[in-house]
């Protein structure tokens, strides 16, 4: 980092530049100012940025997953395409694009074609509300948390549809498992998320981030935040169907689960959706519990906080998201898979009660302002 940018961020921090300005706000402002061209540029940049984010994070995550998996397992992983196989995912993507797109004869063709896009769409929509930095957010909905829950829950439609329309028993079983699993774990995830909503007093993601100015919720709430963090990570791992909760596609049980009958491009959509999903839920975890783009602040230690502000918010967000992604990958390459009834047991008999108790505790914490660095009532 050069000295100039250091100074820039120092000044920006001093001037309170960490105030949220979303892309949609800028667009609206441009409209109001009558500069149509600027408004269109903003829209195009936003759309292009999303598309780039989907593609890039997909490619990078798949590569990272393969490399990490390899090194967890004493292997090297991809080494051939490019330096240390860095272009392996690109090569694979090209291969998938060129592969024949097989639709089973007895499948419901329209639904079969639609399912991967539904799955992908639900994921991409969440990307639009995630605050990557104070100035990098497509739009901030005042019910952002609710939106994310609703839309990501919609992703299961794609999986159900894909499994059902394939007209394959394995796909069907996988899809049904996915439906049961995702809907169940949504409850725990929402309960954990409500804790943060209680703390920050807002449903808007940008405001939730702003509320962690004096400390992230994971450590600032006397353990309550940490418990809900754990619950949230477990629940979202289940929601995105990753080991140890990958029973909808458990490859040794159901061949490939709901996407058994998919090939080529359409398979790659499911595949990509899984990885974007991972990015989304990690981003959400980071936003809710790890302060999103908010640098590491401790209460009112102005000097320390100012020093932390020198690191740009985007890096904070990326770093925190990466940590959660690493955690989820680490789970996958260590644990065996749960059985379907154990999965339900874990949700309904373990996570859910803990989640309720935790929510109650959070309410107490909020009510009596029991933070290590109490929020100063203005």
């Amino acid at each position: 980092m050069t000295a100039t940018s250091l100074t820039y961020f120092a000044i920006a921090a001093a001037q309170g530049a960490f105030k949220n300005v979303t892309v949609s706000e800028r667009t609206a402002q441009a409209f109001a100012d009558g500069s149509w061209i600027l408004a269109i540029v903003y829209i195009v940049v936003a759309l292009g940025g999303l598309a780039a984010l989907v593609t890039l994070s997909g490619l990078v995550l798949i590569y990272v997953e393969r490399k990490l998996a390899a090194h967890f397992q004493c292997r090297l992983g991809p080494m051939r395409v490019g330096w240390h196989g860095i272009f392996q995912t690109v090569a694979d993507a090209v291969k998938l694009l060129l592969k024949e797109d097989v639709i089973p004869e007895k499948a419901d063709k329209a639904m079969h074609l639609l399912a991967p896009f539904l799955s992908m769409m639900a994921t991409v929509m969440v990307l639009g509300v995630l605050p990557y930095s104070p100035i990098l957010q497509i739009t901030d909905i005042n019910i952002g948390v609710l939106f994310v829950t609703a839309v990501s829950g919609f992703g299961v439609m794609g999986i159900l549809l894909g499994g059902w329309s394939s007209n394959n028993k394995w796909s069907m079983v996988g899809a049904m498992r996915a439906g049961a699993q995702i809907i169940s774990y949504e409850i725990s995830a929402t309960l954990a998320l409500l804790v943060v909503v209680l703390f920050s007093g807002s449903l808007s993601l940008a405001e939730i981030v702003q509320s962690q100015d004096a400390g992230w919720w994971i450590w600032r709430a006397n353990g309550v935040g940490f418990v809900s963090f754990i619950i949230f990570v477990i629940a979202v791992t289940a929601e995105i169907n990753r080991t140890p909760f990958d029973i909808p596609e458990g490859e040794s049980e159901l061949a490939a689960g709901f996407h058994t009958e998919y090939s080529g491009l359409r398979f790659s959509f499911f595949f990509l959706a899984e990885f974007i999903n991972m990015f989304v839920v990690s981003g959400m975890t980071a936003t809710l519990f790890l302060g999103g783009w908010m640098p590491f602040h401790i209460g009112a230690w102005a000097g320390f906080n100012g020093f932390m502000d020198l690191i740009p918010p985007v890096l904070w967000f990326t770093g925190k998201t990466s940590v959660v992604i690493f955690l989820i990958m680490w789970f996958r390459w260590t644990f065996p898979r749960l059985r379907v009834d154990q999965l339900m047991y874990l949700e309904w008999k373990v996570l859910l009660p803990i989640g309720f108790v935790n929510l109650f505790a959070a309410a107490v914490v909020v009510l009596y302002n029991l933070y290590p660095f109490p929020i100063l009532v203005p």
Binding site: T243, P244, D246, S252, E253, F335, L338
Partner: protein, 387 residues
């Protein structure tokens, strides 16, 4: 005469939907022959009610090569190479099984060095086989890392075989009257190094999988096979021993050097998947114990008491001999008419063929995912079923 020959199609008529509005229709699903759990080509036809398994119909035969028929045209030396292809993970033990049967039938006396080398190689192979099983069980249950750790460590034993025998899997090592190659001068040293390495590694396996609460819950009380039933179903090897029946031919009718060494037979107490799992883990440790005792006491002598061109003639009669492989009792029945150099009929009592049918008794009532667990815990090698 009440013989009624059926076909598979007759069994697979789809059941009618239940009469009540809430009852669901049962359905058939083919698990295999091309399925990750098949570990080769085994077809399991499942009758399912939702996720619950009602019935399992194993349909073997996809790797049937007619080995018994082939043996009728080969001389005893040539038969050995076919036994590599029965249970390919216990190749040395299978070789030894036939060699031992031939030696008994033709009254061939071997010496201490031969028997020690055979015992050592068998135990190495048993460890290797159980390691592979451990990794595959991990993979079947979704822990892919275990699979690669197992292969990493198995490689060391494979390399030992490669150096001594020249092949890694289908070794064709034990011959009637001896073994094909003598051990290399640095063999003992390498085996000792291997044992030193394996001790902590097996503990590491315990940390990674055995101790893992998910795995424990997947295996605990799943697919309980009690001792009486296991005997009635003809199970042998770790499957039977996990049910608490200590049938181990190494103790029962000691052959090779097993009579001279101290080791325990690992047994389970309940006969569920966990017992089958941990019986094998314990067997690895016991095999290491056997190797430890034998590795420094290899007597001198020739490694084959017969010349390579010597004709082995089996006198007329019916001979049955058995050996404990990594998966159970391999019985070899040789029938000779005393005229031709090749036996009149050869039959292999393969451990996997007899262990397979336990799945029909164990699986009903469990979920699809438990079939995976049960199958993995039975540790089947498909070519040995089909022969």
């Amino acid at each position: 005469m009440t013989v009624r020959v059926r076909t598979l199609d007759e069994l697979l008529t789809p059941p009618a939907a239940g009469s009540s509005a809430l009852s669901t229709q049962e359905y058939f699903v083919n698990m295999g022959p091309q399925h990750p759990i098949a570990h080769g080509s085994l077809r399991l036809v499942l009758r399912l009610d939702g996720e619950t398994v009602k019935e399992v119909i194993p349909v073997p035969g996809f790797v049937h090569r007619g080995i018994e028929k082939m043996c009728e045209k080969l001389n005893p030396r040539q038969i050995i190479h076919l036994t590599d292809r029965l249970d390919y993970l216990s190749a040395v033990m299978n070789n030894w099984g036939v060699a031992k049967a031939v030696e008994k039938a033709a009254n061939i006396e071997t010496n201490g060095r031969i028997e020690t080398i055979r015992t050592l190689m068998s135990e190495l192979q048993r460890i290797q086989s159980h390691m592979l099983w451990w990794g595959v069980l991990g993979m079947d249950l979704g822990a892919y890392t275990a699979f690669l750790y197992a292969f990493r460590d198995r490689e060391i034993i494979s390399e030992l075989f490669e150096e001594t025998i020249g092949a890694r899997l289908t070794m064709n090592y034990v011959r009637p009257g001896g073994v094909m190659f003598d051990i290399l001068p640095d063999f003992q040293e390498k085996v000792k190094k291997l044992l030193k390495y394996l001790g902590p590694i097996i503990d590491e396996y315990d940390t990674l999988l055995s101790g893992n609460v998910i795995l424990q819950e997947r295996l605990r009380n799943v697919g309980v096979l009690d001792g009486k039933k296991a005997v009635a179903l003809g199970c042998t090897g770790p499957v039977l021993r996990a049910s608490g029946v200590p049938l181990d031919l190494r103790k029962l009718t000691p052959y090779g050097r097993y009579g001279d060494v101290e080791f325990n037979v690992a047994v389970g107490s309940k006969g569920d998947c966990w017992d089958r799992y941990y019986t094998r883990m314990e067997e690895i440790r016991q095999s290491m114990r056997i190797i430890e005792q034998l590795i420094d006491s290899i007597p001198e002598g020739p490694v084959n008491v017969l010349r390579a061109s010597a004709r082995i003639s089996i006198p007329e009669g019916t001979y049955y001999d058995q050996i404990e492989t990594a998966r159970g009792v391999l019985g070899v029945m040789l029938v000779s008419d005393g005229k031709s150099p090749s036996p009149y009929r050869v039959h292999f009592r393969s451990p996997n063929f007899n262990n397979l049918w336990a799945v029909t008794a164990l699986a009903p009532g469990w979920r699809i995912a438990d079939i995976i667990t049960i199958q993995s815990s039975l540790d089947l090698v498909i070519p040995d079923i089909d022969r």
